[in-house]
């Protein structure tokens, strides 16, 4: 369920509104693009531009609004909109997050943390089933950036993700920066976290920058996607490539968005590491 979804084993970028016009005019040689479907659900000029982009590049949809961890029903109108967009754009891949944003009453516009319990497992797995049935395809689930954990959690996050792949046959989107941020904030070991993920389920990798904030004299890392990928995250990415193989990788940048070329340079750096991983992979297969 990984490489065969149509994305090349190359590094792409998250396409954000300020770059759409330039991308369509200059057509840079970026191997693939990812967008948030929520930005294209109103139709109009935005959707027309995405259709133009899709004609030129492989595109993945990375949802932020489904709130798969909501205890009640998921928002069926939102799922319908995602299905319409998926039918129209025919993305190579669709992904969402292991998190919740809505209680049904208020939508809190953040990827909020779940307690990792049997109850949460059955809620999230049920919603993933529902989404995959509606879309007629498997989706990838991304590990969140966490700033806290709940006392009554009984399952470690990577095991929770692994169990979701077993129950729903979904894949995983391994956000390497999120692993680094979460591990730092919660005092975990990032490498062990990564090793506990089921390698065969990882169909995409995300890389992004984070910020350092002071919280009561202690440093908390904030996953703000507002700077270049940090050095230790690059190191962790190399480990990810060793463990998961040459998985399609994406550079995300969402705050203080720089010139398009800055993103393309970051993607090129990831692409070089990916190319080395492809060579290793070929070598291993030939041996």
């Amino acid at each position: 369920m990984t490489g065969q979804l149509g994305l090349p084993s190359r590094a792409g970028i998250g396409l954000r509104a300020p770059h759409v016009g330039e991308l369509l005019t200059t057509r840079p040689a970026v191997p693939w693009l990812e967008v948030h479907p929520e930005n294209y659900m109103g139709g109009g000029a935005a959707l027309a531009s995405l259709e133009s982009v899709r004609r030129e590049y492989p595109v993945a949809l990375h949802g932020v609004g489904l709130s798969l961890g909501t205890a009640g029903d998921i928002d069926h109108r939102h799922l319908d909109r995602l299905r319409s967009l998926t039918d129209r754009i025919e993305p190579c891949l669709v992904s969402e997050h292991l998190s919740w944003s809505s209680t049904g009453a208020a939508y809190l516009n953040h990827l909020l943390p779940l307690p990792y319990t049997e109850e949460s497992l059955s809620v999230v797995a049920g919603h993933i089933h529902e989404v995959q049935d509606a879309l007629g395809r498997p989706i990838l689930i991304e590990n969140p950036s966490s700033y806290l954990r709940f006392r009554h959690s009984t399952i470690e996050e990577p095991e929770f993700l692994a169990e979701l792949t077993r129950r729903t046959e979904c894949g995983l989107l391994c956000d390497v920066n999120n692993i680094y941020v979460t591990a730092w904030n919660l005092g975990l070991d990032a490498a062990s976290y990564m090793d506990a993920l089921p390698a065969e389920a990882v169909g995409e990798i995300h890389l992004a920058g984070h910020a350092e904030n002071d919280a009561d004299g202690r440093t908390i890392l904030i996953d703000d996607h507002g700077s270049p990928v940090a050095a230790p995250v690059w190191t962790l990415y190399e480990r990810a490539l060793e463990r998961f193989g040459p998985v399609p990788t994406l550079i995300e940048w969402d705050t203080d968005i720089p010139e398009l070329t800055v993103l393309l340079d970051e993607a090129r750096r990831a692409d070089n590491l990916l190319a080395a991983a492809v060579r290793r992979d070929d070598h291993a297969h030939a041996a």
Partner: protein, 262 residues
Amino acid sequence: MPTLRELQTLFESSLLAGDETAVIQQIEGDGLDPRARLAVYRHHVFTTLTAVLETAYPVVCRLVDRRFFAYAADAFIKRYAPTGPRLTEYGAAFPDFLASFPACEGHPYLPDVARLEWAIHRASHSSQAEALDHARLHSVDPADMSRLTFAMDPSLSLLASPWPVDRIWRAHQDGGEPAEPVDLGAGGVCLEVRAAGESVTLHTLEAATYAFRDALARGLTLGQAASLALESHPFFDLTRAIQELLENGLFDDFALTSEEGG
């Protein structure tokens, strides 16, 4: 141990109502005050939603300065959190909120500037409707014309204000302060805002035309709308007004009601 639903309700109220006590007990400290951990989430929710409001209301933000705007947005978000993930739809209630926000009393024109900005924001995010086939309208018996109701262009907003909100809005389009202060006593205005291709148009309307179109937009029949316009403006040119409706493509569907209009 709370159920997932209970925990999410507690979490939501800690973010929106500041009621942290119950949810704090569920959070592992891991070497830090759980309140500081919770604050990371609250900060993100409020800063991103404030940015959403700033995008929809840039002129209001300039008129009151960003700090005051953030203060008003904070109170608004707590009372009217978004209900769904399409955030371009979030903030429709902000103008009415500003009208009732005591700290805005010194800026009585602010709610109407906000209404204008919402109309523009809404128009810029609506899809183009299918154009109406005029031949269909020609098939209506002239005797039935007064019973017609119209589905107006979905991007259309009509607003009337006792303040010169269009001048205030235009004076703040270049980012900085206007070269000359807008004369707030210049009188009111009737405005029509709608999408035109990929941009948004802003027209001033005569009071009678405004009354006529506003009545149609509220679902009244052609007969009722004409009477309303004529009542207050005896020289209202109904034939021209109907012609303009058609020429400007102001509606994309119509229906015949059973009740006699006007």
